[in-house]
């Protein structure tokens, strides 16, 4: 039993940090926080578009992590547990503030694609092209339906497997895979289309 626990901790260093935090080690929490703060923040920011709301939910997520630390059990990976909390908060708050259908709408606060793209797209620099395509992708992500957007972000941002994403979102693995595939297809088409449109403008 102890061996299994030790193995789990070795496999997931986040769990070890979390256990140290529950024993009163604040530095362990700092390390855990700095490791996951960017991904979690973008998880909210990309889905909501509203920076203020994203920050509120982001802070609330960490607050719940801190409060629930005493009862933390190593049943799941720390990241799965963390994003499960984030997912629940997101669903609760967004549903409370907006109609469910609006989740499928493009996230508010996003600037039009033309405003985000540099005016000079004729540069020969390949790096510049990638930057432009990255900006297009960012815009296209905001156009995705909420469930696909979440599945895509969790997959790309955190590298979660379909099973883990299904556990976080509370859906089956096949449904999660479908969401990711559709998201990929939609994003590729969107990026291609937007890039073509920009090229035609040139």
């Amino acid at each position: 039993m102890t061996k299994v626990f030790e193995d789990d901790v070795e496999k997931d260093p986040d769990q070890a940090l979390m256990m140290r935090f529950t024993q009163g080690d604040h530095q362990a929490f700092e390390r855990l926080y700095h490791k996951h703060k960017g991904g979690l923040y973008r998880y909210f920011k990309r889905q909501l578009g509203d920076s203020a709301l994203a920050e509120d939910l982001y802070q609330e997520t960490w607050s719940r992590v801190v409060k629930a630390a005493a009862g933390y059990e190593q049943r799941a990976k720390f990241t799965t547990w963390l994003y499960r909390i984030a997912h629940n908060l997101l669903v609760d708050h967004v549903r409370a503030l907006k109609p469910v259908d609006s989740l499928n709408e493009p996230a508010g606060g996003e600037q039009p694609l033309e405003a985000t793209l540099p005016s000079d797209l004729t540069g020969p620099d390949g790096q510049l092209e990638d930057e432009q395509k990255a900006l297009i992708l960012k815009h296209c992500i905001s156009l995705l339906p909420h469930v696909q957007k979440e599945a895509f972000l969790l997959n790309v941002e955190m590298g979660f497997t379909a099973a883990a994403i299904g556990e976080i979102a509370g859906v089956g693995m096949e449904a999660t895979k479908s969401r990711i595939r559709y998201a990929n297809q939609a994003l590729k088409a969107c990026v291609q289309q937007k890039w073509q449109e920009q090229s035609n403008v040139r």
């Binding site: 935090f21 009163g24 604040h26 929490f29 700092e30 926080y33 703060k37 960017g38 923040y41 973008r42 920011k45 920050e55 982001y58 802070q59 960490w62 607050s63 801190v66 409060k67 630390a69 005493a70 990638d130 930057e131 395509k133 990255a134 900006l135 992708l137 960012k138 992500i141 997959n155 790309v156 941002e157 590298g159 497997t161 379909a162 099973a163 895979k177 990711i180 595939r181 990929n184 994003l187 590729k188 990026v191």
Partner: protein
């Protein structure tokens, strides 16, 4: 296998494009706020733990003082109860059998000294205001004792019995015993002691001078011996 399929799920090109723009970070103020919250939570927890430690430090005897004292009281009372059940009976209860066996006790006191029915009557005489020298004198005593046996539970009877017991205890030494004692002193030629006892019996038992007294002859014999010896000295 599953990991490979999952890898195929993510498009490398999209992933690369995404990561190129994945630069948003929470503000430093937000970071500081969250880390401060975590530190505060730890401080509160350690404070609670300190309070708990104080509670735990209360000694076992203090914590369970009421159950322990109750248990000790019950134990003490039980012990006393058991000791009383097995211990000596109260004085009244001890006296009652003595009184009831009084004639028998008298018999046992001088079994070999009985010189006929009168001896028994004489022993009873010491405790009776009405003297009787007849052999039938024993019967009234027995008859008198019987009702007492029936009424030992009556408090008034118990009080009377206790007073009577004291009187009778003093008169345990009967005339027979006293004369026999004097006889032993004379036989042992302890003349001084014999004279002392003689003087005392003369005062306390003047009835021995009565010629009708069963021990009168023995008494006179002893007195004459003592006087003869004292005159020699």
């Amino acid at each position: 296998m599953s990991d490979e399929k999952d890898k195929m799920l993510s498009d490398p090109e999209l992933k690369a494009l995404y990561q190129a723009e994945a630069k948003e970070q929470p503000s430093s103020e937000l970071d500081a706020r969250i880390l401060a919250m975590a530190r505060q939570h730890l401080d509160e927890q350690s404070g609670e733990l300190g309070t708990t430690a104080n509670v735990v430090s209360v000694s076992f005897w203090r914590r369970y003082r009421w159950p322990l004292s109750s248990a000790a009281s019950v134990l003490l009372l039980s012990s006393l109860l058991l000791l009383n059940l097995q211990g000596p009976a109260p004085i009244d209860e001890q006296l009652q059998p003595m009184l009831l066996d009084e004639p028998r006790a008298s018999k046992m006191a001088a079994p070999s000294e009985q010189q006929g029915p009168n001896a028994q009557a004489d022993a009873i005489e010491a405790t009776q205001p009405v003297q009787s020298t007849s052999p039938q004198g024993v019967m009234p005593q027995s008859v008198k004792v019987q009702p007492r046996q029936a009424d030992v539970s009556d408090p008034q009877v118990q009080t009377e019995t206790a007073v009577k017991a004291k009187t009778q205890a003093k008169a345990m030494i009967s005339d027979i015993q006293a004369v026999n004692h004097l006889q032993q002193l004379v036989d042992g030629e302890l003349w001084t002691d014999a004279d002392t006892l003689y003087q005392r019996m003369l005062k306390e038992r003047p009835r021995l001078e009565d010629k009708t007294h069963p021990q009168h002859a023995q008494w006179q014999d002893l007195v004459s011996k003592i006087k003869a010896q004292l005159s020699k000295q």
